[in-house]
Subunit: 390 residues, 2 copies
């Protein structure tokens, strides 16, 4: 039994986000070159002397570099994967040095639509180029260099984050020993793209969008962003879960009006309002496009195994039975391709009720799989010295 | 072999919509009473002397009374269920007298937001009350009286139309001998309501909506209606079908912009534009609410069998394997309740690729089931005299 189960500690505690500006230009897939990169990131735990215990966490659509812990001035600001990352957690920060970075094109401190365009001194707004999963991985690679990391023990992510882990394995095969790909897919389906497109159209046709320069008009396309989020939210949950949580429950009886009547309506409106209050519309547009674009097999006639040929790391894939956004079959496709390549791959299909969001939840079976996988890495690969520093 | 398969005829031909104003007030579920009812309807075939061969077709969200044939001035204006209804079609108009009516609250000629409020001489707009499936059935019942029909041979509908057939069986049990309920459900799920609510919010928050009085501002909330339709459209198709039809096909390569890149994006935009060009937003809001409200079991502690106790007719239920809006399980719930009541019920689960839209498609197995069911009605129940008039 590991120390973590004897003395569970709840959190990495108060954390401080860091920022760095990297001045080497980055050529993006779209053809534009960013002259410099602002990157907001956080780290938890300690890099060992061998620099062998670093794990990169990649975020999905609406999250950020704030993965674990909280900010001292706001105890409620708990990181989005705090149940996964911390002392005694499945990814144990007493053994691993965890790095997370806000992806470029996002809106939480890294170069993106709400950051300053160094050329103009103004916010980028709609002038910020469209970015891809490959661009994100390139930026993350730059950060690794900056931090003096030559190889990740693991790159880990859920959903769009899992796509980044997959991309790392193909694009920088020497740079990681493990890829942990959770509730993800090797490419979006037509239906996935369709949902993204409806969300984008809600934003693009909001009169407050102003071609993406809403900032200059002192406004924000909140209505469109709200609808986009409400829609997205439905696809994150399972139908069963919505049924169990809300069913046809009414708030105060039928009103024969368009006021919220069913609890599920109130819930979605609340989620939409909350999201529209803090998220950036240009970012939402760009991140959904990055999702749509990701398709490493495209350059290999759709042959995923061939696309994954460069990969040298070991893989853990996890999917969830009720996830209809990226159902288990999408993970199995990746597993089959890896097996075809004779890559080492572990796969867990977790029977969980929470749909796509299950990857964020503290499901015992799921966390046990992640914990066992990381414990094996720590026990087998990290030096005694490294363990002592933890 | 019936005459229909020897001499298939394509259509009921040119049809002329009819209109009637019924001046007896109709009390709606919301508490409002409509002083008079304008009803737009069509009929195909001939009512027999015994008045025993009338079939009512109920329409779903965006359709109308124009079920079969075409309008002489526009040969492309083919009715929405023309493959089902006509001479030699599964519902054979040489044997049956088919009636279809535009539901109140809709926008194709019956009393609704775009019709004239007799009290004001102005369009109803947002003042038109919210209506329910029960209200529609009551209005259809009034039309039957007006047409001198004392009993329907069958009431038939798909999706929301199937809910009306179910409602008829409960509300006017003496008035129909058969209920044909296709791709339907006894109530919406939380997820169904959630999708409807996102669509409504897209419309309600469109600045051109003007609290539903857009007509007074010489505008229409087209953007919201377009997004609502794009979203709805995704739920009408199956994921498999979208994958096969569009997959990840691009129009002209990646553009790294928000122009349509994937074929599925173009398709959805086209569908959204087309719909927003002719449909009324107040109608869309009301019909989605009628969907949400329908729940005959609610007054019986959720016991559907008890809700269906009054029903005296025979039932045909049909569902489609890839329909994820109203999946087969929702039809099976109804079938189980009817069996519990010892009602006579036939049930067909059709293996079709077209998702919810399958009920509109000319699937051979599906049409064979409907054809056999109606042939049995005609052979067993209609008098020789009736057959001679056809």
């Amino acid at each position: 039994m590991s120390a973590s189960t004897i003395h569970p500690t709840p959190s990495v505690g108060a954390v401080v986000p860091q920022r760095v500006t990297l001045t080497r230009p980055l050529a993006l897939a779209c053809g534009v070159s960013l002259e410099s990169l602002d990157l907001a990131f956080e780290t938890y735990g300690t890099l060992n002397a061998a620099r062998s215990n670093a794990v990169l966490i990649c975020h999905a659509l609406n999250a950020s570099h704030h993965v674990a812990g909280f900010y001292a001035d706001d105890p409620k600001s708990v990181g989005w994967w705090d149940n996964m990352v911390g002392p005694g957690k499945p990814l144990d920060t007493r053994r691993f040095f965890v790095v997370s970075v806000n992806n470029i094109g996002s809106c939480f401190g890294s170069s993106g639509p709400v950051s300053i365009n160094p050329k103009t001194g103004q916010k980028w707004g709609a002038d910020f180029p469209l970015v891809t999963v490959e661009d994100w991985v390139d930026a993350q690679h730059r950060l690794a260099e900056h931090l003096g990391i030559q190889q990740w023990a693991a790159v880990m992510g859920g959903s769009l984050g899992g796509m980044q882990a997959l991309c790392w394995a193909i694009r920088y095969p020497d740079f990681l020993r493990h890829a942990v790909v959770i509730a993800s897919a090797a490419k979006l389906s037509a239906e996935n793209i369709a949902f993204n497109e409806v969300a984008r159209q809600a934003i693009l046709t909001d009169p407050e969008f102003h071609d993406g320069f809403y900032d200059r008009h002192n406004t924000r396309p909140k209505s469109g962003l709200r609808v986009a989020r409400m829609l997205g939210h439905i696809t994150y949950l399972s139908g069963e879960q919505m049924e169990e949580k809300f069913g046809r429950q009414l708030r105060e009886g039928l009103k024969f009006s368009f006021a919220p009547e069913f609890q599920v309506e109130s819930y979605l409106r609340y989620q939409g309002d909350k999201f529209a209050g803090y998220f950036d519309a240009n970012t939402y547009l760009r991140i959904t496009k990055a999702l749509d674009y990701f398709d490493p097999a495209l350059a290999h006639d759709g042959n995923l195994a061939r696309a994954l040929t460069p990969a040298q790391c070991r893989f853990l894939l996890v999917s969830f039975t009720t996830d209809w956004r990226f159902p288990p079959e999408r993970s199995r496709e990746i597993v089959r391709a890896l097996i075809e390549n004779k890559s080492e791959v572990s796969y867990a299909e977790i029977d969980a009720p929470n749909g796509h969001d299950a990857f964020l939840m503290e499901d015992p079976e799921y966390h046990a799989v992640a914990r066992a996988y990381f414990n094996r890495i720590a026990d087998n690969e990290l030096s005694d010295a490294a363990l002592e520093t933890a």
